[in-house]
Symmetry: C2
Subunit: 174 residues, 2 copies
Amino acid sequence: MKKISLNVMPLTQQAFAAFGDVIETDGRSHYSINNGTTERYHDLAKVDLPVQYGRLLINIFRAQPNPLPIPVKMLERHPLSSQTFIPLSDTPFLIVVAAAETDPRATDLYAFLSNGRQGVNYHRAVWHHPLLALEKTSDFVVVDLDSDAENCDEFFFDDNLQVTISALIPDDDT
Amino acid sequence: MKKISLNVMPLTQQAFAAFGDVIETDGRSHYSINNGTTERYHDLAKVDLPVQYGRLLINIFRAQPNPLPIPVKMLERHPLSSQTFIPLSDTPFLIVVAAAETDPRATDLYAFLSNGRQGVNYHRAVWHHPLLALEKTSDFVVVDLDSDAENCDEFFFDDNLQVTISALIPDDDT
């Protein structure tokens, strides 16, 4: 049995750029609308939901919390479309992605911690773990594609490989 | 000066159906995904963002709170597209819409109170007031259309008409 413990990194636009967008207001430009009563943080994600494959959906996902250590046994990806998750519960959650075009290896994995006010938009075909809520049951706005075409690949790591996340302390040096 | 005070109704799917969708989990069907760890409340809004006119945007709007009484001096509408507002701050907010295809009259106005966990999706061309946060500065996820085409009509009520919202107590009999 080979065991790997993933380090968790803070979720920043720069660190996450290869996988998608961080949807947040901190540090983002904005401009006034509605006669000065509202600030618009404009166009925070590269949404990629090709209508030739289906229809845009707005959903709410309610995710159960995960106690540590969290096993990473599989990943999924959507080859046709992006997928956006924005937290509604102001609670940190984990993001696990892989920098791989084909089958991901354990060494391709990266884990990020959202502060609970940061959402993510996975770019098309980016390998990612399903929702990993922490602390409490957490709701998320999800914007994705409803398609009759096959749009979900799954990859399961070998049973002889045990990948876990054991601690949530972001490692700024990573 | 003619004065009109709008009653505020609870925001329900049934009451709001003529104007758009209520995006909420309460009372909505759902199904399990992600190996049983997540409930998906699927397809909560009739999103209508025609790509021939532009590009889908995900934004965050930060709205300043409004003290009572709140004047309703104008409305706007987007003739080409729907527009979705989902609250991130778990704080009630007001929705003012008009049942009118052309210039709205004061008698066409309806006001609804979101409980702070309910979002709304205004259907294409529905007259609505810009964001009306209450209590505190409130953030909203906004899904709308970026278009070079003209996509915002504004209507201003006559200066001799004073429409206000003076109380937030929903009137269940309305």
